[in-house]
């Protein structure tokens, strides 16, 4: 942001680096998180996202680098001297304490009156939609309910930062989807700065204000969900988020590329003539209806196979000119209206506005 009034920073990471012996878990991470936003650390397992969260929580010590919370340097502070609430994947609810005692756990220590604590616990349980659960034990509740209790406990002391470590991954798909929305709503209402670690791209895209895509201990891209999905800056981001076709080709200069014997005109590309490239095309980046024949970047081929996935289908297009198969998505309606079937001929045109072209570096996927 280039405004002269710098935004207040909830959290600032400067060159946070973590090595376990020879293995580098985090490579000099720089990141600023503004108050009230929900940031997702997204990446495959082993990318360092959980390590980064644990370093922010003080549960793990960075090899070097600084962490500033609300402008205060907490780089070397123990967990208890930082200000955050945390929800773990396992919830870590104390099994021998009731739900109310669990939620009150951090409050009891703060010399508050019993009435205040009881009121606060009830307020929190109501907030997470479990107003009558106070007397139960964790083992008497479902996974989703336990997850909400863990959230209430983390929020009880009104921390300025909420850390969520894969909070939904232990839950069934249905419950997960519902809780996604609830957590997002709650977070918006309380305006509590939140960092959530997840390996689930759908979760990250649907919940986050900003997504931090991590790969092999580094940050590949930071941006809004539409930024990272529609304008991926690295082949990894393009590949990790959603489905994508990777077409091998050669740049011809002037935004023109040759793939097989086909020639594509891709305004996004600025590669010198003769450069080997990989062109990333998502299955939905295509025109199939209307006057396809009048569009550029047309491809004609045969449908070799259709994978039925419910609301939409993925069809494998065998286009001789491309010399490589390509997946094209059809909505269920399009499939019926256009009479697409296995073995049938189709003509499509690529939607070039979202197609990304990366130079082909030897060794990259």
């Amino acid at each position: 942001m280039s405004t002269d009034q710098a935004p207040v920073e909830a959290l600032r990471l400067e060159g946070v680096h973590k090595a376990f012996g020879d293995f580098v878990a985090l490579r000099s991470i720089d990141l600023v998180i503004t108050p009230g936003e929900l940031v997702c650390f997204l990446g495959p397992s082993g990318c360092g996202k959980t390590t980064l969260l644990r370093i922010i929580a003080g549960l793990e010590r960075q090899t070097r680098g600084r962490i500033l919370q609300n402008g205060r340097d907490v780089s070397n502070a123990p967990p208890a001297a930082r200000d955050y609430g945390i929800v773990f994947q396992s919830y870590a609810l104390f099994p021998n304490l009731t739900i109310a005692e669990n939620v009150a756990y951090g409050l009891v220590n703060r010399r508050k009156s019993r009435a205040d604590i009881t009121a606060r616990v009830q307020e929190l349980l109501t907030l997470v939609g479990l107003p009558d659960a106070g007397r139960k034990y964790p083992s008497q509740m479902s996974g989703g309910q336990q997850q909400r209790v863990a959230l209430a406990r983390a929020l009880a002391t009104s921390p300025s930062l909420l850390l969520l470590d894969e909070p939904l991954s232990a839950l069934d798909a249905k419950v997960r989807e519902r809780l996604r929305g609830e957590i997002r709503q709650l977070q918006r209402r309380l305006r509590v700065t939140t960092i959530m670690v997840t390996h689930d791209q759908e979760e990250a895209l649907s919940m986050a204000d900003r997504v931090v895509v991590m790969n092999q201990g580094g940050i590949d891209q930071v941006g809004s969900p539409s930024d990272v999905y529609e304008r991926p800056e690295t082949p990894f981001v393009a590949d990790f988020l959603g489905k994508v076709n990777v077409l091998k080709g050669v740049a011809l200069g002037g935004g023109r590329y040759r793939v097989g014997t086909a020639e594509l005109l891709l305004p996004a590309g600025e590669h010198g003539s003769g450069q080997d490239v990989r062109i990333y095309v998502r299955p939905e980046d295509r025109h199939v209806e209307g006057d396809v024949a009048s569009l550029p970047n047309r491809l004609r081929g045969r449908i070799a196979r259709i994978d039925y996935l419910g609301t939409f289908c993925l069809a494998e297009l065998r286009c001789e000119a491309l010399g490589q198969p390509m997946l094209i998505s059809y909505s269920l309606n399009q499939l019926h209206d256009l009479k697409v079937r296995e073995g049938g001929e189709v003509e499509i045109a690529l939607r070039v506005d979202r197609v990304r072209v990366f130079a082909d570096q030897a060794g990259s996927r």
Binding site: N70, A80, Y105, N109, Y137, R191
Partner: protein, 575 residues
Amino acid sequence: MSVATIPTPMTRSPSRLALAGEALAARGGLVLLALALLVFLTVPLAMILVRSVEGRGGEFAGLANFIQYVQSPALVQSTRNTLTFAMMTTLVTVPLAFLFAYAMQRSCVPFKGVWRNIAMIPILAPSLLAAISFIYLFGNQGAFRFMLDWVGLNSIYGMPGMVMAMTFASFPHAAMILMAALALSDARLYEAADSMGTSEYRKFMTITLPGAKYGLVSASMVVFTMAVSEFGVPKVIGGNTNVLAVDIYKQVIGQQNFSMGAVVGLVLLLPAVAAFVIDHIVQRKQQALLTARSVPYQAKPARGRDLALLLLVIVMSALMLLVVGMAAFGSVVKFWPYNLSLTLNHYTYGFEEAGLEHAYRNSLVMAAWCAVIGAAVTFAGAYWLEKTRGANLLRPLIRFQAMLPMAVPGMVLGIGYILFFNAPSNPLNFLYGTMAILVLSTLVHFYSSSHLTAVTALKQIDSEFESVSASLKVPFYKTFWRVTVPVCLPSVLDIGRYYFVNAMTTISAVVFLYSPRTTLASISILQLDEAGAIGSAAAMATLIVVTSAVVTGTLFALESWLIRRTQAWRNTAPR
């Protein structure tokens, strides 16, 4: 996004002082534990090394003691006897225990609980009990002495009696390991074999045995170590067959030759450490054997097999009960086998005559202290080790020392204690001859298993409790008290029970450390046997078994009551 509407968080961090206090508590606990292990385990053991290269007067003697040892035919013969004794015991016990475990885990034998409980009886008894029973049965006045002729033996004294008594004493230990090993089985493997039409024999050879092989090695090592370190059995029923553990005793107590005792101790340490290392390596491999997706094997009825195994376990159980029953019966008859009228004289007059009427009370006091202090210290120590942060250099040191006692025979620990605590220059010298040193040596002697029990229990609870507490600014020791201890209470009781029973039955380390005032029931069996009062020896052994059984039963009942009372939050998870 407007910054102004964000509520200012109420950051009320705990004071710097409170945090420093918490860090101090975390590190302080570890430092104390490390120090205690150092003073009461490692340094006494190191004293053996030092003493082994000193002459009788304390001068440096280099390897002279070792040379003298190697040149002494009697001591070399003891080494040979010890290894023979340990190997024979292993060869007899492990196959028997395997058959028993197989019957329990892989067949449909009825009344499994009964057989299992009977098989565990030897744990409650001092190993001397079996020796005494075998003397009653096959000794010079034994009722079944004539049976020895059938197998061509002259006398029960010596190797035959030693192996028989030791087999009884070590059987439950081997059986427990093998039952655990056979419980780990993947039914899917057997189903896959069945689908390919595999014979029972081939399934046994290709699935069952390979699956149990680590258990077999582990059980062998445990039995071998027990026999190598055993003092009581060879002392009572060994006759002229000397073993190393008895030699140490003779050198130190009989001849006051501490240097030679130290050398023999080191020699005894070798096979024990070797067995420990092998077991350790094998156990590491075992962990990778099963995956989370395995489905436990359930035996299906098979008439011939079940009947044969039932007969076998009945015979085994009958023998076990015979051994225990013989000692108990011997303790209440006037003069076995000639006068079988009942009497309680062995319990009253017999103890008094030997001046041992306080021995049983001493044992109770010692065992109670061991149970209470042991459970508290071991569990807290394991907690500090596994769940606190900081002091990372200290942790491997403590872990190593915590496992060390498992590899150290009690006799070796005992001689280390004499050498260290009996030294006049040692400020801890005042402990020598007290009840305290008996408690300390017993705690250290049985620390490893207890520590492992505690660590296992702690590893089963969520690893993030301490992280959550820290984020809520609750010090870890409050969470320890409010959550960890209540959750792990059954395991804590288990540890206390283990210490109690072992304190009641142990002889090896304490035999060097008791004073006339603090003599123990287990040791008094030896004294009564030496004095020829075998009826009273049997009486004392019986008292120990009954006490161990009552305390074990009580603690079991307490445990199950506790688990039932906390059923609301224990294991009722709908997930």
